[in-house]
Symmetry: C2
Subunit: 142 residues, 2 copies
């Protein structure tokens, strides 16, 4: 039983906040898809290119291109899988890990600045609400 006006406000706030986070990301000099792939590797662990494509909900061909760029920039390595000659296990290089951690820090720092004048209790409640919404949304997305 949520108010229409609340949801409209939420939609535009989400959209514009996300745009600002994109601006923060762009300062890293690594594209969105590449940064996102690094994040999946960092927080989800090493895996094959196909599995990475699946986690990112992107085609294998697209992930192949993204990984090509990341490898060219020395942020990942493609290691042959000893148990399956078709596969490559994708791992972060130390530069790759440093890059994604720096980008993550930049986002958190930015969010802290932007939330500076929000009462801690209200902020926490809002985070819980969004986390719950994310959960419900992801449940439906599979």
């Amino acid at each position: 039983m949520s108010s229409e006006a609340d949801l409209v406000l939420l939609n535009s706030a989400l959209t514009q906040l996300m745009r600002r986070l994109r601006d923060v990301d762009e300062l890293q000099g690594v594209g969105r898809a590449r940064l996102s792939a690094l994040a999946v590797l960092r927080f989800g662990g090493a895996c094959s290119a196909s599995e990475l494509a699946e986690r990112e909900m992107v085609s294998r061909a697209t992930m192949h291109h993204v990984l090509g760029g990341l490898e060219h920039d020395g942020l990942i390595r493609r290691n042959p899988d000893p148990e399956d000659a078709r596969r490559h296990i994708i791992t972060l290089t130390s530069r790759g890990r440093a890059t994604i951690e720096r980008a993550h820090r930049a986002r958190i720092t930015y969010l802290r600045e932007v939330a500076a004048d929000i009462a801690p209790g209200r902020l926490r409640s809002a985070c819980e609400v969004l986390d719950r919404m994310r959960d419900v949304a992801n449940r439906g997305a599979h």
Copy 2:
């Protein structure tokens, strides 16, 4: 004085929720940049191509391409400005207006579903928090 863990959670929830909203957008059969341009025209009013580019924080060349696609699909019109022969005033066609309103409805409907089990008071508070954060972020972005 915001907790690190809250902000980390907020970042991932924002990112993933936004991805779901993108999925909803894609069902409209109109690309992101085009949908966004339609939204600016619908909720900000008719304006020139350059002004549209500025509002979307995108180059004139990029906006020119986006408008080309929208015009080709019959969603906007480029009308010569009687007061300035260089300019075109961009207006929505009725199909363009219908398209952006349908897309907006789809987003709101989706958010309502995803927030179905959140208590109205908590949801409202969360919306206010995000609205405030958006305000602060946009203040810094100009």
